[in-house]
Amino acid sequence: MGLDFTVIPQYLDIVLWGALWTILITLGAATVSFIGGMFLAVIALYAPLLVRLPFRAFAFLFMGTPLLLQLFLIYFGLVQVGIDVPAVMAGIIGLGLHFAVYNSELFQTGILAVDKGQVEAARTVGLSRMQALRKVVVPQAVRDVIPPIGNNMISLLKDSALVSVIGVSELTLSAQRAIGSTYRPFEFYVLVAVIYYIINLFMEAVQRRVERRVQASR
């Protein structure tokens, strides 16, 4: 049987709803990964050993095991200990924490790369260690790691497809549903690929815009 793209319009709303969920999950997880990543970076660099160690173990766990397993653990595993996390939330948390660990590495590099004279200047006018970190070091570190963080966020978008395994009707799973009724895998997978690509382009555009905006502040 040949290709027939005319089946698409009838199922387009299902797919677009899926796309919307993918965008929401990506945005949510990106936020978690950003804030969590910065938190982990500051802990890793400045917290006393006793605080640092458990977080390091956590980071090790999230880096060293498959994301799929982490999603299963949060969604199916936590129920057993009485924590019932809705699938979408489990997806956002799982993806978010997974990428927080990767972002943390970038933020750490960024923080360490900020010139020592910056902290000295901040301390000299009377800022405390924390104030200097918050107002002087972290903003510069964030500015400097925008490109690699952007790359991580694009990986996050792609990995959001994994959230389908815990039953969230995001883009990939909605396509599978449409395929289930139409038996037209090629057409729908191509459609979904195009949609991922468009979201991707959009994210790259945002990243370029942010980079242009911080250009003068180097």
Partner: protein, 264 residues
């Protein structure tokens, strides 16, 4: 401007460094240094590279804590012995009263000129945006940088950066200003604009301690000159004596080499 500071021994010193000693491991960088600066006095510290000038200056606001001796500002000991938390509080307050200007400016590149000058007053003195702005405008006007208030540091020349750095320090209304080779990183044609700002502060009787390689500038603004070498103050005195008729052979040697270097 030159008010014979040497003879004002009846007055209590404003900045008082007593028996300052600093070691990095076995390397002794400051060896029993004493320096008293009266209010409104301007002291220049000269000496070869590595002689401990920066270390001494940075001991005053505790950026490089001493390993021995005391530093006093008015009736407060700066490097006093306190439990860590209390010490941090104490030192943060003390530092508000001591302005410092670095060789490499150390402006905050992610903030505009306005942001650089208003950051500390807003965070530490609780100034509102409007108040902080008024303050920033006044300080920037003083250093001739008002028209660049919305620029980022990357858009300024070295001399302009240093003038903004001075305004940033002045915005905290410090009691004393420390300059660590403020013009050494500048192209020669940009040195004068920074010197002029420093002269203006001198005319306003700001207490200043200036580490410098510019002998003619030191001679024209300072009340007293210290010559340091290998962690000790070899000789000190009024500029006319120090530059024209020094006693120590090491001072003579340094000045001779230095002047030769300046006019190749």
């Amino acid at each position: 401007m030159k008010d014979e500071g040497d003879h004002m021994t009846d007055q209590k010193p404003f900045v008082d460094i007593r028996h300052a000693q600093k070691s990095y491991g076995t390397l002794e960088v400051l060896k029993d240094i004493n320096l008293q600066v009266q209010k409104g006095q301007i002291v220049a510290i000269i000496g070869p590279s590595g002689s401990g000038k920066s270390t001494l200056l940075r001991a005053i606001n505790d950026l490089d804590p001493l390993t021995g001796g005391e530093v006093w500002l008015e009736d407060k000991q700066i490097n006093k012995n306190l439990p860590h938390r209390q010490y941090e509080k104490h030192i943060n307050l003390v530092r508000q009263e001591i302005g410092m200007v670095f060789q490499h400016f150390n402006l905050f590149p992610h903030l505009t000129v306005r942001g650089n000058v208003t950051l500390a007053p807003k965070m530490l003195k609780g100034l509102s945006d409007v108040e902080a702005n008024t303050l920033a405008e006044a300080q920037l006007d003083k250093v001739g940088m008002l028209e660049r208030i919305d620029y980022y540091p990357s858009q300024l020349s070295g001399g302009q950066k240093q003038r903004v750095a001075i305004a940033r320090a002045l915005a905290m209304n410090p009691k004393v200003m420390l300059f660590d080779e403020a013009t050494s990183a500048l192209d020669p044609e940009l040195v004068e604009e920074v010197n002029l700002v420093m002269k203006k502060l001198a005319e306003e009787h700001m207490t200043m301690i200036i580490v410098t390689h510019e002998m003619s500038f030191a001679e024209s603004v300072c009340d007293r000159v210290l010559f340091m070498d290998q962690g000790v103050v070899v000789e000190e005195g009024p500029p006319e004596v120090m530059f024209r008729n020094p006693t120590s052979d090491r001072t003579k040697e340094f000045l001779r080499k230095h002047l030769a270097g300046q006019h190749p």
